[in-house]
Amino acid sequence: MSGPSNYQPGSAFEKWLDTRLPIIRLGYDSIVDFPTPKNLNYWYTFGGILTFCLAVQIVTGIVLAMHYVASAQPFIEGSNISQAFASVQRIQRDVSYGWLIQSLHTVGASMFFIAVYIHMFRGLYYGSYKAPREILWAIGVVIFLLMMATAFMGYVLPWGQMSFHGAAVITNLIGAFPVVGDALRTWIWGDFAVSNATLNRFFSLHYLMPFVIAAMVGMHIWALHVPGNNNPTGVEVKSKADTVPFHPFYTVKDAFALALFMILFAAFVFFMPDALGHPDNYIPANALSTPTHIVPEWYFLPFYAILRAIPDKLGGVIAMFGSIMVLFALPWLDTSRVKSMRYRPLARQFFLLFVVACLTLGYVGAQPAEGLFLIIAQIATAYYFLFFLAILPILGIVERPGNAPASISEAVLKPGAARPAHAAAE
């Protein structure tokens, strides 16, 4: 997409098409001949893996929607089991291969988040958010927000106890906003509590959002192909010698990584489809009693921990949203001119601590918010924000970076030569 095109239409048909709709040229320039830094490692395969995950969710989701019934009404007169709950049970038991498709979709949501978190930490470590890739990064954060909204609404659909009360807790966050909070919450519910109306609109939006995500992924890749990939050295491509064509070098590398990822995916789907979920969601929703221990899906736990770490209701909500909004500002918060943390001895250590803080938040998010857990959550939350708002801005000024290689080729051909002396641990 960037630079001159090397596409040579072969057949007469390709020539004819190329002067009318150069779609083959677009594909050729984007995924065959695209010049790619020759030193991309396996952390760079997660973009392809994420595209695969989105495709899996869309295909399995469309199939599920053929059998799913979005209704909170009792499935038999007087029953406390809703049609929605019953239809998911029916998918798992009676629909041909329904167990497989349902399991692929549920496990797929978790796999999607595993991949996106790795993808994001990768970007953080190699400084991929820095100029000229700020927009690319911001689109990524938008995709992450859309994914969270999609997964949240999807989790409500089976209308189990966690679905229902999780939806209640999260929509009640909106009520924390002064003045408009109450009206906004009722507007989102479509009733005076989480209800049938809520379930129906969540289904409608859950169906829609993945296609919005797909469109954003298109923009993400467009914004990637203008400056081209960053790479583990953070040194921009200087000459053709620094690159290899995307195909076959990275198509094969991506495919290999994807195969490994699919093994993990399949292990969950076939041997422990419910391991990542919560057993309470197999209890039909009951508006009159909340599960004693209410927790979101694992991929929301760090944010849930931040929410609960702040003793004030509105403050907690602001901190939770702020923890994602700060990512938009990151390209301008990090003042260092060196991109990759490979050559930033101090930043690397603070980064490792940041990863630990995120994992810690995930852990305490699943624990009751009291006593020691609460204190740990507060410390980790403080570090999360300090990392972005204080450490990265200050480090860029005070840190003495190591010597980055002059070019990608130099880094590849003489590994170690350009490393800072104290980077032996990497």
């Binding site: 209640a168 009640n172 009722t186 507007w187 479509g190 989480v194 009159l288 909340t290």
Partner: protein, 207 residues
């Protein structure tokens, strides 16, 4: 605006002069702004129904009230039912609970407002302001009727746990007393008391 130029039937020759252009420009500006304004109003008129359709529909709003017979409650018993999709707790309190609740000083409360939809917003959270008022105009402290939605993030508290003999919200640990007032925990406000009206001596209409 030059009078002559607007005279009907008077065609200006092409490239006639600056006056004509100015005149056209101001006419175009007007048409442009008028068309833009009409478009914006039209768009707003279409967008509003698209937004408002998400508010509670007529049938949901019609379920505004429900009746409950307090005489059915045994001493110390709590009954739960839903009103507008929200859980409601109706409970008959024991004499000890009533005395204890009545003697609680306002200064000991985290939220000092009654949160009673039947009272002005500024009414204080004394026990008398939380219990139903009978047909004779006197408070009925043996009963308490509450919206069972934790004012923190909307979980449903359970009765009989917590440090104040009332409700406890397991989600993030809010303790309410036997009048449904928040005592400790992250919840900012007392459990809401719905608007209550007695239709007979014991049957109360909620909402």
């Amino acid at each position: 605006m030059a009078e002559a130029n607007t005279a009907p039937g008077m065609m200006t020759p092409l490239g006639h002069g600056a006056g004509t252009n100015e005149h056209d420009a101001s006419r175009r500006d007007f048409i442009f702004i008028a068309a833009g304004a009409a478009g914006a109003i039209g768009a707003a008129a279409v967008v509003w129904p698209l937004i408002d359709q998400m508010n509670p529909a007529g049938d949901a709003r019609a379920l505004a009230t429900i009746e409950f017979d307090l005489a059915k409650l045994e001493l110390g018993q709590e009954v739960r039912f839903t009103w507008q999709g929200k859980p409601v707790f109706a409970r008959r309190r024991t004499p000890e609970e009533i005395t204890k609740s009545e003697q609680t000083a306002l200064s000991a409360l985290k939220d000092k407002l009654s949160r009673n939809q039947g009272l002005p917003a500024s009414a204080d959270a004394s026990d008398a302001n939380r219990v139903p008022v009978g047909p004779d105009g006197k408070p009925k402290p043996e009963f308490i009727v509450l919206v069972g939605t934790c004012t923190h993030l909307g979980c449903v508290p359970v009765f009989g746990q917590g440090d104040f003999g009332g409700w406890f919200c397991p989600c993030h640990g809010s303790h309410y007393d036997t009048a449904g007032r928040i005592r400790i925990g992250p919840a900012p406000a007392n459990l809401e008391v719905p608007k209550l009206a007695f239709v007979t001596d014991s049957v109360v209409r909620i909402g």
